[in-house]
Amino acid sequence: MADVSEAHDRELVQRLRQGDEDAFRGLFGRYAPTAKALALRVVKQPNLAEEIVQEAFLALWRTPETYDPGRGSVRSWLMGMVHHRAVDAVRREEAHRRRAEASIPTAVSEEVDPAEEVVEALGIPQERRLVRAALQELPDEQRSVIEMMYFDGLSQSQVADKTGTPLGTVKSRTLLGMRRLRAALEGLDR
């Protein structure tokens, strides 16, 4: 499944190089809802999250040649762009974000997005289930370290400070958790 959808993604990126708008809309429909969820989870401000998604997809549209298939999937590249921008935004506006955090609902609107229908059609739900299951199967302390780093934008030393855990322990939990996730998700790449 992953091979097919990944090949499809790469074909779409290739078509972007010729300015193919349908290819762009295909990738936007497939990944924008996940990108928005990621940005929203990290920055916790809907408007800022939307800006980040816009920036990332504008970069995709304007400079698709920066995607290097040798360095991973289109999804990882796109999510990496979104994550990088979101974490940067958090680190720049940390004080501001902390003030706003309390007022932002964590649950996402339940309105049905047309783009989600595209997502549903392309088999991402199965991947979602597998990723969620893999995360759930991690020991709490490993999952929490990974989530604090990836979703809250904290560095390992910040995680150590926040949790009162020795830095070395944070590092080993990160590695053990990531190894488990890697093993659990490896099958998706075949």
Binding site: A35, R41, E111
Partner: protein, 237 residues
């Protein structure tokens, strides 16, 4: 595999965005020591894919479909809307080399420097007269010595600026984008330039009549510390 233990540990943290600066330097050093290392690449790829899948654990969020329309309205990548974007697979777009007269440049740079430094109130003579407009506008930055930069914006609203063919900032510096409103310079962001390109949002152009680019320390200070190297004049709402 043992000699990759440290690299694996550091890569696993880096893909999560959690690597501290000292560890990032260690990783850089270790990777350099390994040279062209297939195992290192495999680790980067494998953990990169793990991180890339983590967002799938979240419920998808509704996205305003107008975003896609706005992006496409910025024009096809192969036909740069004044920005001179280089597109792979196409002939390199000739870089714009036409520069405004030196007298104008010097006047703008000097005026903007004074504005940015907050030294008194300066009457700015712009290279072009600001126009009043309501629809989406495109503005190019000049001079293009450091690369091509274009702003797509709604006067008085927000915008997106992108750069291509950008030279790397001086070591230890980043590019900083500023909106200029009267005598006030407001930081719009310090975009990261990757492979000579970047894209950044400009959230608020209310009252702004110009945008400027400076090179600043990596801390991305909220006040400019140097003179602008590129500017553009904005239409007002």
């Amino acid at each position: 595999m043992n000699d990759h233990a440290l690299i694996e540990e550091l890569i696993a943290a880096r893909v999560l965005g959690g690597l501290d600066e000292a560890d990032a330097r260690t990783l850089e050093r270790e990777m350099a020591g390994h040279g062209d290392c297939a195992d290192c690449r495999r680790l980067e790829l494998a953990y990169g894919e793990v991180a890339g899948r983590l967002p799938l654990s979240l419920d998808p969020a509704p996205v305003d479909p107008a975003i896609a329309d706005r992006i496409l309205a910025s024009g096809p990548a192969s036909e740069p809307s004044g920005g001179g974007l280089a597109i792979a697979g196409a002939e390199p777009t000739p870089r714009r080399r036409r520069r405004p007269g030196w007298a104008v440049l010097v006047a703008v740079a000097a005026a903007a420097a004074l504005i940015l430094a907050g030294i008194g109130v300066v009457s700015v003579r712009r290279p072009t007269t600001a126009t009043v407009a309501s629809g989406p506008q495109v503005a190019t930055f000049s001079p293009s010595t450091n690369g091509d930069m274009t702003l797509l914006y709604t006067p008085g609203g927000s915008g997106v600026v992108w750069g291509s063919g950008m030279t790397a900032p001086t070591s230890g510096k980043v590019y900083a984008l500023w909106t200029l409103t009267g005598t006030t310079a407001t930081l719009a962001g310090c975009p990261q330039v990757v492979d000579g390109a970047f894209v950044a949002s400009v959230a608020d152009l209310q009252g702004a009549t110009q945008m400027a680019v400076t090179q600043e320390p990596e801390s991305c200070p909220s006040q400019p510390t140097s003179s602008p190297i590129m500017t553009t004049t904005l239409a007002t709402s």
